[in-house]
Every structure is written in C-alpha cells, then in structure tokens.
Symmetry: C2
Subunit: 117 residues, 2 copies
DNA sequence: TGGCAATTTGGCAAAAATGCCAAATAGAGT
DNA sequence: ACTCTATTTGGCATTTTTGCCAAATTGCCA
C-alpha cells in the first residue's frame, strides 16, 4: 500500500483531525453534544473574541463536524454526526492509558466495541 | 461547565488530535495497524526524508499513540492502543456523510456501538 | 578500533495556524 | 431609514508546524 495511492484518504482524514486539534474547538464540540448553541453563547462559554469563535466554528463546519441554521438574529450550531464525541472518548483512552497502564479502549462511562461485517 | 474548568482536558485531547492531524502521520498509524514497522520501512512507504519521518514518529510517541522498541540496529514502532484506528474510522464517517447524506456512524467494514455503564 | 547502516537531533527557512481589532453584513424592531 | 444586536470577514502580527540538510548518536560486525 503506497502513500501515493492512499494520500487522498489520509488528507481527508487529517482535515477532520485538524479541525478537532484545538482545545477551544474540542471544548465547543463537547458543549454541542448536550445543547444546540448560538455563537454568542459559545463565545461566552469559551471566553475569547467573538470573531475568533466564529472562525473556529467555520473550521468545524467546513470539516463536516457541525451544521448551522439561522434562527432570527442568531446562528445556531449543532453536531452533524452526534457520534463524534464517542470518538473523542476513544482519544481519552489514549490519555488515560498513560496515567494507568494496562487499560485500553475502556472508559468509565462507555465501552466501545467494534463488530466486523 | 466553564472552559476554565475543562481547559485541561480539552488541551490533553487536542494534543492527541494534533498528533493525528497530519496526512503522513495518519497514514503511518494506518500502516502500523497491520504491521510493526521500522523507521526505514515507514520512510520508504511514506517517501519523505528519514529525519522527517523520525520526527513524525516522535510526535506520535509523545502523544501516547505509538511505542517503540529496539531490535538490533533498528527501532520498531507499534500502536500503543490498537483501537486508535477504530476512532480514525469514525472520522471516516464524517468524511463519507458529506458524500452520502443520512449515513452516520456506520462503515462498510465495522460498526461502532457504544454501551453505557 | 574502524566502518557501516539505522536513527535521532540541531538548525533554519518556508508555510500554516492563531487571535485580536476593525470593518462589513444580516435581521429584528422602532 | 435608523438603531441595535448578532455574526462574519479582512487584515495583520505572532506563534507554531513542517521538512530538508548536516551532524551526532547508536548498534552491529569485521
């Protein structure tokens, strides 16, 4: 399997990863798992400039992670694929396995399993 | 839930995401799902400078995604948590849902399910 | 010890990401 | 039309990332 052949897929994956590879953006995605929020609500939660938050949201939207809809004056953002946080939790495994060795792919709240076929 | 309080977790998550947020690094992680490979084998597969590949590997190792062991002259890299690719496949959902609407969290080869408790 | 292959590290220039301010745009209500 | 609020966009300085070369390191084997 050559990199040339798989480069397109790798780049597409990296685009989504990059979108999540920022503390503020991860945090916002986490918030949006529970609620549908407007730009100003997210801005207040994050504590950065509105324009900064808006640009973060635009990155997440372009990566296909979020969708937005207008509601009067405001723009509400939602997760496009709610499963995104389950996959963030899989990242948590990587974090926790450093703290406690021997544990892999298991979290207190949720157990991830994969069925083939 | 304030950002101040959750910032640490968000940063830890972003660190792991960042490590995966590069086409070459994602590709190498993918390769390492199937085989345990040395730096030169990975270098040949990727087609970049050895020093570049070595630095990529070091980033993945520091993020807790890979582990390395010496075997004679060479250094072999392995996935620390094999489940990492399942999580990459969840990323694929985000990619594919753009192409074909309505499909979420399901891939041809593997279905991700989450059990609470 | 010397030579050779594999890997890592230092350094640096080019490219990309970040975050603020200021300005532009969009919508609701007067 | 005017104002006010919400959001996005342009611009720009600062920081981070990237990837190559050259040099240092490590381990094998003669």
């Amino acid at each position: 399997m050559s990199y040339e052949k798989e480069k397109g897929l790798a780049e597409a994956r990296a685009l989504v990863m990059k979108a999540l590879a920022h503390p503020t953006r991860i945090f916002m995605v986490d918030l949006l798992t529970k609620n549908c929020l407007s730009v100003s609500e997210l801005t207040e939660a994050v504590g950065a400039d509105v324009s900064t938050v808006s640009k973060h949201l635009s990155i997440l939207k372009q990566a296909g992670i979020l969708v937005d809809r207008k509601e009067g004056n405001r723009v509400l953002y939602t997760l496009k694929c709610p499963c995104i946080m389950e996959f963030v939790h899989c990242i948590d495994d990587v974090i926790y396995q450093d703290a406690e060795q021997g544990i892999s792919c298991v979290l207190p709240g949720a157990r991830i399993s994969v069925k083939k076929g």
